[in-house]
């Protein structure tokens, strides 16, 4: 429960922000439109479609959106709210920015200015990290404030995944319960779901690039449906709806949605043993590491020796190669040292952008290792879910050219995996700047195709999401 002091403080902030809405709107216009040169595609149609639904709902609203930059909430607010709707002050959302990100910026004057701006923009500072009593109490207090605002017919803006997405992809497989919990406690609340992204936004950034062109899709959905008895059910439905909107967004985009890669390493190939002799002298091993591994990976490998070290080294390489291919599909070129793999957590980080991707070692036997990596487009899979990447590793027949075999086998595999592709002959392999693409009916399919070969083996993968 909120104390009287908290309630009075919220009311005071609400009054001030209602008064300040016009100056802030003008400030937003000047900074976003004129200074940064941002443009929104089909903004009128977007506003019209959502306001038709919003005008019918006078109750509380939870704004929920994907999160890629630090100014997403401003962008979404501007994309959705025309000046004529500013009089409906209850719909201007309250936000919960991370306290450490905004409330200690710069020197004393700058800090005060930012704090005042945040206050006027209806911000309630939130503290994400920390398991101490103060931090937990802080979070609970913010939750109670949000609940109070909603119960009083207001709106709150909460990013369902909390921080900015680490790979630029909204993943519905890891729902968080906060919004479900709020919806369960506030009768009549609705979720305003928005997916907004710039056409040049590949990963998370501080701000979108200048002169960015944004497109957005949105929907207003029920906060609680009959039969939803726990927060997770509600959250999962919200996450699924945002994922659908994400698919709609990518359907109209020039960016490839499905970006995945795979790589196979033949552990018995003379090349592999020559590059990394399992019993090689420390100087040779160090040289091999220094070209391909980061300091953290090298430290991890130093705990192993002989054959075990040999296998783990190649697992790193397979994971990194798979990640390079996944990144290349999004237009980002990289090399071994740009990537840092964590084989235990099954994550790989592209260091220049801090983009974090999922990896999976799908084949790990005496003869070979095979890895897949997903940047975006679907789920990599786990013990319970098969995931959205289909892959196969095959032995290259004697005399066949491995790259040719991989290409042909990949088309056969795609056809065999599909109900409506009768024969692989109706598919053709082409490439776009070195990235393999499959043509069907004359159109490039966004399947995130990836090819690999090493020694006796060829591997290929594609995405079915």
């Amino acid at each position: 429960m909120l104390s009287d002091v908290d309630v009075r403080s919220l009311r005071r902030q609400e009054r001030l922000s209602a008064w300040a809405r016009w100056p802030i709107y003008i400030f937003l216009f000047f900074s976003l439109r004129l200074y940064y040169g941002y443009r929104f595609e089909d903004m009128e149609a977007f506003r019209l479609s959502l306001w038709k639904k919003l005008d019918k709902h006078q109750g509380p609203i939870i704004w929920a959106a994907n999160h890629l930059t630090l100014i997403d909430s401003f962008l979404i607010f501007w994309a959705l709210v025309p000046p004529s709707k500013l009089s409906r002050t209850k719909i201007i959302p309250w936000s919960t920015p991370e306290y450490r990100n905004y409330y200690h910026l710069g020197g004393p004057i700058y800090k005060r200015f930012i704090r005042f701006l945040m206050y006027a923009c209806r911000c309630i500072p939130f503290l994400r990290g920390g398991d101490d009593e103060v931090s937990i109490q802080w979070r609970e207090n913010v939750y109670q404030k949000c609940r109070w605002i909603l119960l009083n017919g207001g709106s709150v803006f909460i990013f369902p995944v909390a921080g900015r997405s680490k790979n630029g992809w909204f993943d519905p497989h890891r729902p968080k319960d906060l919004l479900g919990r709020l919806a369960q406690e506030v009768p009549g609340v609705k979720f305003l779901c928005v997916y907004l992204r710039g056409e040049g936004q590949i990963f998370r950034t501080v701000y979108p690039r200048r002169r960015e062109r944004f497109r957005m899709v949105g929907d207003l959905i029920d906060g609680l449906l009959p039969g939803e008895t726990n927060p997770r059910m509600t959250s999962q439905r919200l996450f699924n709806r945002l994922a659908e909107l994400q698919n709609d967004w990518f359907a109209g985009s020039g960016l490839a949605k499905n970006c995945a890669g795979n790589d196979v390493i033949d552990l018995a190939s003379p090349h592999a043993r020559d590059i990394f002799p399992p019993d090689g002298d420390p100087e040779t091993i160090e040289e091999v590491y220094s070209r391909r591994l980061t300091a953290k990976e090298t430290a991890y490998l130093s705990e192993f020796s002989g054959e075990a070290r040999y296998r783990i080294f190649w697992k790193f390489i397979a994971a990194k190669e798979a990640a390079m291919k996944a990144l290349a599909q999004s237009g980002v070129m990289s090399n071994f040292k740009d990537l840092e793999a964590d084989l235990f957590r099954r994550r790989i980080v592209h260091l220049p952008t801090a983009c974090e991707m999922d990896i999976a070692l799908t084949v790990d036997d005496a003869e070979k290792v095979h890895a897949i990596c997903v940047l975006r487009g679907g789920y990599i899979g786990d013990d319970d879910h098969p995931g959205d990447v289909l892959w196969e590793v095959r032995q290259v027949p004697d005399g066949a050219a491995p790259s040719e075999f991989a290409r042909e086998s990949c088309l056969n595999f795609i056809a065999a995996s599909s109900d409506d592709i009768r024969t692989p002959d109706v598919l053709a392999m082409t490439d776009d700047g070195g990235i393999p693409k499959v043509l069907r009916n004359g159109r490039v399919c966004d399947w995130g195709v990836s090819l690999s070969h090493s020694g006796r083996f060829a591997a290929y993968s594609f995405m079915v999401s």
């Binding site: 910026l105 020197g107 040049g200 690039r209 590059i275 090399n335 220049p352 700047g433 043509l439 004359g442």
Partner: protein
């Protein structure tokens, strides 16, 4: 009984200032033999044969690219051996000193995609004297990529033609649609190769991505700077330490991003001009591709 292991043959390293660029190129090609999987292309390899790819390249796998660099390091000696620390950290640059082992630093080999470009890299880094005569015969990285794309396209088009010829009925129709797309794409590519300005513009996509990465990292850095100011003013030493380590990590990411940005900038710059050798390569692939387009149109 103890056996003596046979000793690996030692490569006799040569001072880069005592051999010609052509000899350097030959040694580089010989050195990568064990990584090559396309014997025919490797045995015919010259300054402009790509290490990667099997159509015109030597068929070296991408995981072996680092070994190509290491093979180059093993074969040559240089006077650039004096490590001079940069920015007071662990980074260093190499300056003239005693004759010693060649060392190619991280990222310096990023565009060494052919033996000729590897020699150019050695010249650019000051390990051997510049030889304009030799360099005039080396195709730039940008054009190696552009010409390679053309050969892959040609290969794909030929395969699509074979498929259409072999199929009948509805399947032929579907394969035919693919062929039409590939013909259009190939035609577009031939005209792109013919237009230097358009080609440079086409290569800007990666450049723009890399520029955005660098811009973003600079923004992150400035944001951390502001947070540091705030944390220092409020005397929160724990937060200051966390922010300092975050700042270090962003600085190293920025360095990597800048390296990549430099390469993509170089690609755009190189695409905007054309040497005689590049013109010849472009003409060669354009002719091949045009011929395949004509054959494909006949089938279509």
């Amino acid at each position: 009984m103890a056996f003596k292991r046979r000793e690996a043959p030692t490569v006799e390293a040569v001072d880069l200032n005592t051999i010609s660029p052509k000899d350097t190129e030959t040694r580089i090609i010989q050195g990568v033999k064990k990584y090559a999987t396309n014997e025919g292309n490797w045995s015919r390899a010259d300054a402009n044969t790509p290490f990667l790819g099997s159509i015109i390249g030597m068929g070296i796998e991408s995981s072996n690219l680092a070994d190509v660099t290491m093979s180059i390091e093993r074969q040559f000696l240089t006077r650039k051996t004096n490590r001079v620390p940069v920015n007071g950290g662990s980074e260093f640059r190499l300056e003239d000193g005693e004759l010693g082992k060649l060392r190619i630093l991280d990222g310096q080999d990023a565009t060494a995609a052919t033996p000729g470009l590897s020699v150019k890299m050695l010249m650019d880094l000051g390990h051997m004297p510049k030889d304009e005569g030799y360099l005039s015969g080396v195709v730039s990285y940008a054009y190696i990529v552009a010409v390679g794309d053309g050969y892959r396209m040609n290969d794909g088009l030929k395969k699509a033609v074979e498929k259409v010829q072999r199929l009948s009925g509805a399947e032929r129709e579907e394969a035919f649609m693919n062929l039409k797309t590939l013909i259009a794409k190939a035609r577009e590519y031939v005209s792109l190769l013919g237009d230097i300005k358009a080609l440079a513009e086409n290569r800007r996509k990666t450049y723009e991505n890399d520029r955005q990465t660098v811009d973003n990292l600079r923004q992150e850095l400035s944001m951390i700077g502001e947070k540091l100011k705030g944390a220092t003013a409020s005397g929160d030493s724990g937060q200051v330490a966390t922010l300092r380590s975050e700042e270090t990590s962003i600085r190293s990411r920025l360095k990597m991003g800048e390296q990549r940005y430099k390469i993509s900038e170089q690609v755009v710059r190189e695409s905007a001009g054309r040497k005689a050798v590049e013109e010849a390569k472009v003409r060669e692939i354009s002719t091949i591709l045009s011929q395949t387009i004509t054959d494909a149109q006949r089938v279509a």
